[in-house]
């Protein structure tokens, strides 16, 4: 591809910085502005060492120079995104929201990538949502009648930045909403454990559902199909407990190892949401190029 689509990243914490590193490998997008509040943050230092254009003006860096980018990743907080979303909409930017603000279309690339790239604002749910909702979706393909489904993720304490911690209630709300939308279950529940262990544990996500007379064979086929889809953009996504029954309670557990870009490999939580977001951005970029007849 000749012209890469330019993206701006707002928010220079773990998520923003890891996105930046991943974008360096992309054939379709490039980062033209990395903007936050504090030029001395570790993320800013990393970006500076990579020769990326920086700003400490947050979203104003994009507002004052709108032609700087076509895509904006918002990696700030749910509260900030509620303020940013209308501004970016007015500027006509394609927005990929990394916070649990749930303003736009909730997206799991393995399920609804096409819908997402035709929206203006795409919400990446949460890390636990990226890991669990596609599994819930796969289960619902086999058992559309499921009424209740839940998920629990355990992530290493060292992989959770201050944004994740302060947004913990929003994390739960967004993950539950994602589960409802993608599984069709009336009632959903999401939980999050932060684990202090050293050495740090890998991200682990479990989906549980109560199913009478479950068709385990059919569920396994659907889940394995989904695994292959997800592994296309999250290579470290693996099933560690296949569909397993204890009375009517069915459990499926996945483990996510990261690529080890900005944080070490145990931070699969960071990786899965970022890999998913990059997938959306690249797909959008390809769509734009195709529409421009540039291929």
């Amino acid at each position: 591809m000749k012209n890469k689509l330019r993206v701006g990243i707002i928010g220079t914490g773990n998520i923003g910085t890891d996105l930046l590193i991943k974008i360096q490998r992309s054939k379709y997008i490039e980062c033209s502005i990395f903007t936050g509040r504090n030029l001395a943050s570790p993320g800013m230092s990393k970006a500076a060492s990579m020769g990326i254009r920086l700003s400490d003006q947050g979203i104003d860096a994009v507002v004052s120079e709108p032609e700087l980018c076509d895509i904006v990743f918002d990696a700030t907080s749910a509260r900030s995104h509620l303020i940013h979303a209308p501004i970016l909409k007015k500027l006509g930017k394609f927005v990929i929201d990394m916070t649990p603000a749930k303003v736009g279309v909730l997206c799991v690339p393995a399920v609804n990538l096409e819908e997402a790239v035709n929206a203006q604002n795409v919400n990446m749910i949460t890390c636990g949502g990226q890991a669990s909702t596609p599994i819930a979706y796969a289960i619902s393909q086999a058992h559309p009648e499921i009424e209740y489904i839940e998920t629990i993720s355990t992530i290493s304490s060292r992989s959770a930045g201050p944004g994740t911690r302060i947004n913990i209630d929003e994390y739960i709300d967004a993950t539950e909403k994602g589960l409802r939308i993608f599984s069709g279950a009336k009632e959903t529940k999401a939980m999050l454990n932060l684990n202090p262990a050293t050495p740090a544990i890998d991200m682990q996500t479990t989906v549980m559902a109560e199913i009478k007379n479950p068709d385990l064979k059919r569920i396994t086929i659907e889940v394995e199909k989904m695994l292959r889809e997800i592994q296309k953009y999250v290579p470290g996504y693996q099933m560690v407990v296949p569909p397993t029954l204890d009375n009517n309670r069915m459990q499926i557990t996945v483990r996510v190892q990261g690529l080890g870009d900005y944080l070490p490999k145990f931070a699969g939580n960071l990786d899965i949401i970022n890999c998913a977001a990059i997938e959306v951005a690249e797909h959008f970029a390809q769509k734009v190029q195709w529409e421009l007849g540039d291929e």
């Binding site: 911690r165 913990i168 709300d173 939980m191 932060l194 684990n195 202090p196």
Partner: protein, 335 residues
Amino acid sequence: MSSSNILLYDTTLRDGSHAIRHQLTKEQIVRYARLADSAGVSVVEVGHGIGLGASSLQIGKSLLSDEKMLCAARENLKNALLGVHAVPGYATVGKDLAKAIDCGVDVIRVAAQCTEADTTEQHISYVRGKGRRVYGGLMMSHMISPEMLVQEALKMESYGAEGVTILDSAGTFLPDDVTERIGLLTNALKVPVGFHGHNNLGMAIANSLAAVEAGAHIIDGSICGFGGGAGNSSIELLTAVFAKHGINTGVDLYKMLDAADVAEEIFSVLPKITSLSIVSGLSGVVSVFSKPVARAAELYNVDPRDIFIELGRQGAVAGQEDLIVEVAQALAGRE
């Protein structure tokens, strides 16, 4: 600080939930709440074992909703405060804390794993804003150094916690471990410090006494230890031992002993130190895993002690019940 005034925090109707797979009934709540109230405990904590919003397939669905449990207790407490446990990641402000306050809860203990104090800021400040008493709790407190524990407790204090309790969730501390930690905490914090013991190694009472001697003012206990795994510090024993040591708890010893006499009748099962809970304590695995570990060991025909040791190696914490199945399956595959 003098150690003359100790607040006995009764966790029977919360930690005990783990001992009966979260099947606490209204009758049990009503009956025990009355006994504890009349004995003079300061706080009666009620709810699911992991607190508000934790009823789930993962940990166990409770028989009654959080509100039903809290309301049943509320109507039967005259002097004791009604307490509830809340862990961010399970309990949200909007869905759970607001509801608990509507049910008339007086005290909310917002607890987090020992490294996660900063997940409690929203929750603690919300409870403060509502004018209810709020404490912080640091679970699995053996997993980090005493110095780091102090840093986490200071964060909770800065958010508005009116006391911070450390939980020996795995029942792995010996008295010296408690003395060191509580000593550092009471020196660093302006608010009262508390201790929550588990009895895996038979140390719950000795540890609680060590905590008081090092300056703790809030001590958790359950009737006959009714709680997760090997159980908690027995509150009737705490009452007796503290009385003998000249520490005032405000609890009527005979009434507490009367409650202990009927505890088995009320709850059917009382915890005891089994070989499995000893292994759990030694491997530093959260005590409340004993029931799900026993279940997985039975399903996959593996030695539950091997499961505990592997969970300990992986640093599992409460809430990671899904890991038990994975570990059991892996052990079964190895054989």
